[in-house]
């Protein structure tokens, strides 16, 4: 067999927790005890379901206020984009850029990249496997960095607390946004990049 190079072609499965190679017929890893799958089970369906969930959560996360500012007797809510615009008006362009990239650009780009990866796997696209694997690793890496905005809210709420003068309160969007980040992280975890390479293996076998 000239192309017997992958674990799957040798009837081996790689444990996702301890990387041990075991016979594909086993259901549990003999080394660490976790459940074994040749490929992550129902990878595409699960990933897509989670992606749709986070896309839905993304709407309230952007429309509703992420933080309220109670100044004297006035209370004003601000959304993520509202906060970015305010920072630009105040002249803090670099911070506005960080918030914009972390809270707007990264989550939406990540969602689109994951949709694209799922689509290429479903279509059985050939070519550019390496680039798509890099793309997947990028989505995996940047996933948690979107939490910055939620943490900023948590810190400001605890720090800026001068009763009656200036108080920050968290908004519902913070919860929705945390949901978006967590759900997309699980989506990235349930996606199996090896599916892209399996298409390549099948093609090689057909030739």
């Amino acid at each position: 067999m000239s192309n017997a190079r992958t674990a799957a072609s040798q009837d081996l499965s790689s444990c996702h927790i301890c990387l041990k190679l075991v016979n594909s017929e086993l259901h549990h890893c003999p080394r660490c005890g976790s459940a074994m799958h040749k490929r992550k089970s129902d990878s595409l369906q699960r990933t897509l379901a989670l992606l749709v969930t986070s896309t839905i959560l993304y709407i309230p996360a952007n429309i509703l206020p992420i933080m309220y500012t109670d100044q004297l007797s006035n209370s004003a809510g601000s959304t993520i984009m509202g906060g970015v615009v305010l920072l630009i008006k105040l002249g803090s362009v670099p911070i506005a850029a960080i918030i914009f990239i972390a809270s707007v650009l990264v989550p939406s780009a990540k969602l689109m990249m994951m949709y694209y990866l799922c689509w290429t796997v479903a279509r059985g696209n050939l070519g550019s496997e390496r680039q798509r694997t890099v793309l997947y690793r990028v989505t995996e890496f940047i996933g948690k960095w979107s939490m910055i905005d939620v943490f900023v809210v948590a810190i400001l709420v605890a720090l800026v607390h001068l009763s009656g003068i200036l108080v920050f309160r968290p908004g519902v969007a913070a919860m929705a946004f945390a949901g978006v980040v967590i759900v997309t992280m699980i989506a990235a975890e349930s996606f199996d990049p090896r599916l892209m390479w399996d298409n390549l293996e099948e093609e090689a076998e057909d030739e």
Binding site: T6, Q10, E129, T133, W145, M147, I148, V150, L162, W197
Partner: protein, 241 residues
Amino acid sequence: MAWVPAASGNRYAPAMTQAASFQADADTNSLGDAVAGSTDRARIACPSCDLLFDVTDLPDGATANCSRCGNFLTTNKSDAFERVTSACIAALVMLAVACAFPFMQFSRAGLENTMTLPQTVMELWNNNMPWLAIIVASFILIIPAVVTICMLVLSITLTRNHSPSWLRQLGSTVFHLQNWSMVEVFFVGVLVSLVKIAKMATIVLGTSFWAYAAFTVLFTLAVTNLDKFQSWQKIEALAAE
């Protein structure tokens, strides 16, 4: 089957030239070099593309990357567990300091408010957001603390060549939870909030701020030094004895 390392595969270490010479070949014959009990050769399948590699003879200090997709496979550092132990001990001390002392102080027009790290969580709870409080607490304090303690126990046990029955459980806890710690993200969040309110009032950084910064560095150091593949090879070898 000669595998030519792709140009971008070289970025990890100069030792990559050696690591790249490992054959991506499933037909590995037993050479009698017992690495892990009954299994004769240390083989690894690339987590991204499933290609098989024999990493038995990975030299000390070398890093192996997948020759097809470039994904990181494993790195072999003989003193890795000692490094993890020392980083974890220092990290735990820093975390304790970070929780006990004031994090930042905010003052404006003669009024001031001091904030501690646990307060970031408590204030969310007091504002009727218990779930968000739990999420934030988990990501910045609970998971990092649990992972650090588990890494410490794991590295000490492995350095001393012990094989208690709970070692497997400990190993899977560490590698399950590792991805869910957001220490470094929180720290960037702190910096962003600092700049956001710097114009509004006077901010004084507390002891806890610096301790948490140190914790971030030490925690990252421990995580990067604890290689998943090598740890499990050692756990298995010890269990087989």
